[in-house]
């Protein structure tokens, strides 16, 4: 992986800080595409031998740690402080109308979507491995499993679809909450919950679009080892979003007031 091309210096990834990642990151990968057309890559010297973009994305992920720490802190600080329901883990009766609100969190659905997101990380890591190993010929006796493992398209599709499934679960969750009477304006829980998970969802959306562009390139001209860095950047981002969900799932969903 260190052998990756060190050529392109445009950095789409750090523009993620805009808070509108979906639109921005989407086209990160067209640049190398244009590059390789010319096939005149300069090898700029770098101090560490690493690509600038990989350093930038790790710095960006460090920054995102603080972003989500702020969001999660806020959620936890306001936990149990809402004046009116519905509440996440406990029942609430509206004193005016007598209407009863069940605990609003849907643990089975979210457990499922958590599982989906975890599996998408597996698919992502396999996609990266497939891209990196594109040039290694499959052994003659390669079975279906080996051939599957070597397919970057398969795993990119899998990642995208799993990501989209996660988003679908979230969409279902959001709409059903609104249906049950919890909006972003209802109470402190609503505001913090929708904002935190919404931010996370926006990150997932950005990731899905980013992966979509990779997939498009894969169909157009095939992703190979020289694209490994680009896939790696997307993968790091994707796993980070996953890791954040691991924290959110435990802190929001599983630990009651």
């Amino acid at each position: 992986m260190r052998e990756t091309d060190r050529s392109g210096r445009p950095i789409p990834t750090s523009v993620l800080s805009l808070g509108v990642p979906p639109l921005v990151t989407a086209h990160a990968h067209a640049a190398p595409a244009a590059h390789s057309g010319g096939h005149e890559e300069h090898h700029h010297y770098t101090t560490t031998g690493l690509d600038n973009r990989k350093i930038a994305i790790w710095a960006f992920i460090g920054s995102e740690c603080m972003l989500f720490a702020s969001l999660i802190s806020t959620y936890l600080i306001y936990k149990g402080r809402s004046l009116v329901g519905p509440f996440p883990h406990t029942e609430w009766t509206n004193p005016q109308t007598g209407q009863v609100f069940k605990p609003i969190l849907n643990i089975p659905v979210t457990s499922f979507s958590t599982f989906v997101l975890l599996m998408s990380s597996l698919a992502m890591v396999l996609a990266l491995a497939a891209v990196q190993n594109k040039d290694n010929p499959l052994p003659a006796n390669a079975g279906l499993g080996d051939r599957m493992l070597a397919s970057s398209k398969l795993w990119l599709w899998a990642t995208c679809i799993l990501g989209a499934m996660f988003l679908a679960c979230q969409a279902y969750e959001f709409t059903s909450f609104v249906h049950e009477g919890l909006t972003i304006k209802t109470n402190l829980f609503g505001s913090t919950f929708f904002t935190l998970t919404g931010f996370h969802g926006a990150h997932v959306t950005a990731g899905v679009i980013w992966l979509g562009t990779l997939l498009a390139i894969d169909y157009k001209r095939g992703l190979g080892p020289k694209d490994a860095l680009n896939v790696d950047l997307a993968a790091l981002y994707w796993h980070f979003v996953d890791v954040i969900w691991i924290a959110i799932f435990t802190l929001l969903y599983l630990i009651p007031d």
Partner: protein, 639 residues
């Protein structure tokens, strides 16, 4: 060394492609972007200064009516916001841009187009947040915009919308720049320049980038909450829904305290370049200087609640934050003493830059000591939100950051423009500035300790504050001619200053080994660095014989244009030399404009939903479209 004529003989290749205005609008050259930053932020410094002068005029005597209460409240909000976000941070960014690649021996920053983008976002965001004061509809919540006052309930008008959105725009610029410079410093050092050979300015900038990377996400989230509250009716700071307004305060100061070190560390870096050069001595205790910078940055994340001693945190919180705050005196003190002992035993040349650097040592110490006095909560309860605090932070900001930046401008002007600034005017500027600065801010210690609250547009007679306010105001008035001398000097010297050679001050670091002003590619051949003072290795070998020298750098490269440390005299253009340079492009500008249009759309939303939506979608379309075009265009043209 021979004196080189001011206008170097190499042609300006960019000029032939794009002329004048367009050349600036499309540049991706870190030096040009640095110049843009410098001029823009000097403009905002004057603007913020004029706001301050207006405030001081109003406060000259009790019960004056130069401005109204609401105008005054806008003035101090915008003065603080302007000085912090539009003057000092970008003044530092001007130096990041101009100097970091030169000090590292690089041809540009890691992401040149992102760099242009950062500048345009800053400029447009700056205009966005500054324009309203011309119509007296500017933000009026104070530069820390405490909730719930900053929420829709208590600030229903458009004023605070400008602030909430404007600071977010500026945050994008700062973050993009920070990722860029952090990557540049990690990854674009010349062969042989390990971390312990980086010039001190680059070191302090390095720490600053991490402070930005870690502090700005927090203010972004705090602002997103406020924005959601104001625009979408959420409850983050809605006290009637049970919200706790201290949430804003904590989030703000988790950002806000590191922010003050973001403001001071680059200035510290600049004087760390000026002092050794003008003392003919290496920096005293280089390693400790670097580590203390890191330590200041790190501790800076553990002290934020010292801005909140009066909110009733309880004794445990007060104690912890008091003690961590006091600890910061130690690494800072180390810096102060190391600077002094850099001069000690040296051969000091009192250039204007040197005077300002010494001014920083003298004045920052005062501000630091007053900082220590309010790190003690019982004492701070008598000081917080009084003019005593105003005195503290102007001593560190004006006496520290601004002094350091002026020092840097005088010092690096010859590198930027190939001409010296006028030393005599510089000396006048220094003394007038030094004296009137003290005249302005020293009396504030007294008015504060004698009970004068801050952020008051008026005060009553017979409170015992009249003399001190009068003095402060006179000082502020005197700062105007002081600054005017500087401005005059700056523009005059650009045109007709005495020509400066490449190594204008007989300095030790890489940026002085190339012509002044540097050619677009900076280094025709990337130098291999063997020690901390590569240029002194050549010009004054006797000065560097004690520093460790290695040539580890050579081993890793194998690039055709890397050669041993040398004095660069190449005058041909990049094209002639076959050096690939990032091509100029306007796309970062349009992308930045897209962002600002988007935020403007949101601003309009509550007043005209249709127009607002049109703005948001137009902006988003611009953003996506130009970003796509940007990312699909290769960075460099191939020769």
């Amino acid at each position: 060394m021979a004196t080189v004529a001011a206008s170097p003989s190499y042609a300006r290749p960019a000029a032939s492609e794009k002329e004048g205005f367009m050349a600036w609008l499309t540049t991706t050259d870190h030096k040009k972007i640095g110049t843009l930053y410098l001029h823009t932020s000097l403009f905002f410094f004057i603007f913020g200064g004029l706001e301050a002068v207006l405030m001081r005029w109003q406060l000259m005597k009790p019960n004056q009516t130069i401005v109204t209460a609401d105008q005054f409240n806008q003035l101090f909000t915008m003065h603080g916001t302007t000085m912090v976000f539009l003057a000092i941070m970008p003044l530092s960014a001007a130096f990041f841009n101009y100097l970091i690649p030169l000090q590292l021996g690089a041809r540009d920053v890691a992401f040149p187009r992102l760099n242009a983008f950062s500048y345009w976002v800053y400029l447009l965001g700056g205009i966005f947040i500054t324009l309203p004061i011309l119509f007296w509809v500017a933000p009026d919540g104070g530069w820390f915009a405490y909730a719930p006052l900053s929420g829709r309930t208590y600030s229903p008008a458009i004023n605070m919308d400008f602030w909430v959105l404007g600071i977010q725009i500026l945050g994008i610029s700062s973050l993009a720049a920070a990722f860029n410079f952090a990557t540049t410093i990690i990854n674009m050092r010349a062969p042989g320049m390990n971390l312990m050979r980086m010039p001190m300015f680059t070191w302090m900038s390095f720490v600053t980038q991490f402070l930005i990377i870690l502090a700005f996400p927090v203010i972004t989230i705090a602002l997103v909450f406020l924005q959601f509250d104001r625009f979408f009716g959420t409850n983050f700071y809605q006290v009637s829904a049970g919200a706790d307004p201290l949430l804003w305060q904590h989030l703000f100061w988790v950002f806000g305290h590191p922010e003050v070190y973001i403001l001071i560390l680059p200035a510290f870096g600049l004087v760390s370049e000026v002092l050794p050069t003008n003392s003919k001595k290496p920096l005293f205790g280089y390693g400790v200087m670097a580590y203390s910078g890191i330590l200041i940055g790190f501790l800076g994340f553990g002290v934020w609640a010292h801005h909140m001693f009066s909110v009733g945190m309880g004794p445990v919180g007060d104690t912890v934050f008091s003690l961590t705050t006091m600890l910061i005196a130690i690494p800072t003190g180390v810096k102060i003493f190391n600077w002094i002992f850099t001069m000690w035993g040296g051969s000091i040349r009192f250039t204007a830059a040197m005077k300002f650097a010494i001014g920083l040592i003298a004045l920052f110490t005062i501000g630091g000591i007053s900082g220590i006095t309010h790190s003690s909560p019982p004492s701070d309860l008598q000081q917080t939100d009084t003019y005593y605090i105003v005195a503290h932070f102007h001593y560190v900001l004006f006496g520290g950051a601004i002094m350091g930046i002026f020092s840097g401008i005088y010092h690096y002007f010859p590198k930027m423009y190939g001409r010296y600034m006028d030393e005599r005017l510089g000396t006048w500027h220094f003394w007038l500035n030094f004296i009137s600065m003290n005249l302005t801010f020293f009396p504030m210690h007294y008015s504060g300790l004698l009970g004068m609250p801050r952020r008051i547009y008026t005060y009553d007679t017979a409170q015992g504050w009249d003399t001190f306010n009068m003095l402060s105001t006179i000082g502020a008035f005197l700062l105007m001619p002081a600054t005017l001398i500087f401005i005059w000097n700056f523009f005059k010297s650009k045109k007709g200053g005495e020509p400066a050679p490449a190594n204008a001050w007989d300095a030790a670091t890489l940026e002085w080994s190339i012509p002044s002003p540097p050619p677009e590619y900076n280094f025709a051949k990337i130098p291999v660095v063997h020690s901390r003072y590569p240029l002194w290795d050549l010009t004054h070998p006797e000065r560097t014989k004690d520093v460790p020298h290695t040539d580890e750098g050579m081993r890793h490269t194998g690039e055709h244009d890397v050669v041993d440390m040398h004095i660069e005299t190449e005058r041909r253009t990049a094209k002639e030399l076959g050096i690939p340079m990032p091509s100029s492009t306007i796309k970062p500008f349009w992308t930045a404009l897209g962002i600002v249009v988007m935020f403007t759309g949101l601003l309009i939303m509550p007043h005209n939903k249709m127009a607002g939506l049109v703005g948001i979608f137009t902006g988003a379309a611009m953003l996506v479209g130009f970003l796509y075009a940007w990312l699909t265009t290769p960075l460099e043209e191939h020769h």
